[in-house]
């Protein structure tokens, strides 16, 4: 039960974090350089972006809960369960970020989800 609650927190916070991070990174714009000085400038814009920072807040919740749950549960159980976030994030991408998700992509995501459910079983 303790494990289930922590996993639920991890999944919800992670999906919210993903959507906010993407919004932030899209606002900053495509990274198309490996010039250190330019990257430094981009880094500055990234860490002052409000959406990105809210994303980091949610990811931090995810990370702390993940560390705690790992102290008693198997990685090969926790990690697959945590991965339900992939489905939730895709819904977030479709509804909040207005991405077009093709039929094949949904099929792939459903298979990933099934695979994740299978890997969660003992």
């Amino acid at each position: 039960m303790k494990t289930a609650i922590l996993i639920a927190i991890i999944v919800l916070a992670d999906a919210a974090g993903d959507v906010l991070l993407t919004r932030g990174m899209k606002q900053v714009g495509e990274i198309s350089t490996i010039n250190p000085r330019a990257l430094f400038g981009i880094g500055g814009r990234v860490i002052t972006n409000k959406s990105f920072l809210s994303g980091i807040f949610f990811i931090t919740i995810t990370y702390v809960s993940f560390l705690i749950v790992l102290s008693w549960a198997d990685l090969s159980l926790v990690f697959p369960a945590k991965s339900l976030v992939y489905v939730l994030s895709t819904f977030g991408a479709k509804f909040f970020l207005e991405e077009t998700v093709t039929f094949q992509r949904w099929l792939g995501i459903v298979l990933v989800c099934l695979g994740v459910a299978l890997t969660s079983l003992p």
Partner: protein, 144 residues
């Protein structure tokens, strides 16, 4: 919305995500090994002992590298592409947990690994199709 050359973007996305996947899977192995060693010792001692451990710091560094790569990919690629593509790490985590942490992995979990792999291939292909559609819709224009 910016229209960049999507074909090269797909390659770039994959090039950035592969190290992200490996760094994350390896980071999880380091964290899991150490955290289980520390075990259930109450909240405060748990946190302080975790912070003292170089293994935890190293595992965390790997996860940070993975995160920076992930966030970079999000600056140009779809979240609905990056997220399932990166789920390859779940399969890799099961393999790593079996190989390095000697956790017993059942046939059911191996079947899950197979499903995830097929799903990831489908998503990768959907990325390629989208890239092709985009380059047909927007004939290559000069400049940016």
């Amino acid at each position: 919305m910016k229209s960049t050359a999507r074909g090269t973007s797909l390659k770039k996305t994959i090039l950035v995500l592969i190290p992200a996947i490996f760094a994350q899977a390896a980071g999880n192995v380091f964290l899991s090994t150490k955290m289980r060693e520390i075990g259930n010792s109450g909240w405060l001692p748990l946190v302080s002992r975790a912070l003292e451990s170089p293994t935890v710091w190293f595992g965390t560094a790997l996860l940070i590298i993975s995160f920076v790569l992930f966030a970079s990919a999000l600056s140009w690629a779809d979240l609905s592409f990056v997220v399932p593509a990166i789920s390859a790490e779940v399969a890799l985590n099961v393999v790593f947990a079996n190989y390095f942490l000697h956790e017993v992995v059942s046939l059911t979990r191996w079947a899950g690994v197979l499903f995830i792999s097929i799903g990831v291939v489908l998503v990768l292909q959907s990325g390629r199709q989208k890239a092709q559609q985009k380059s047909e819709e927007i004939p290559r224009s000069g400049g940016r």
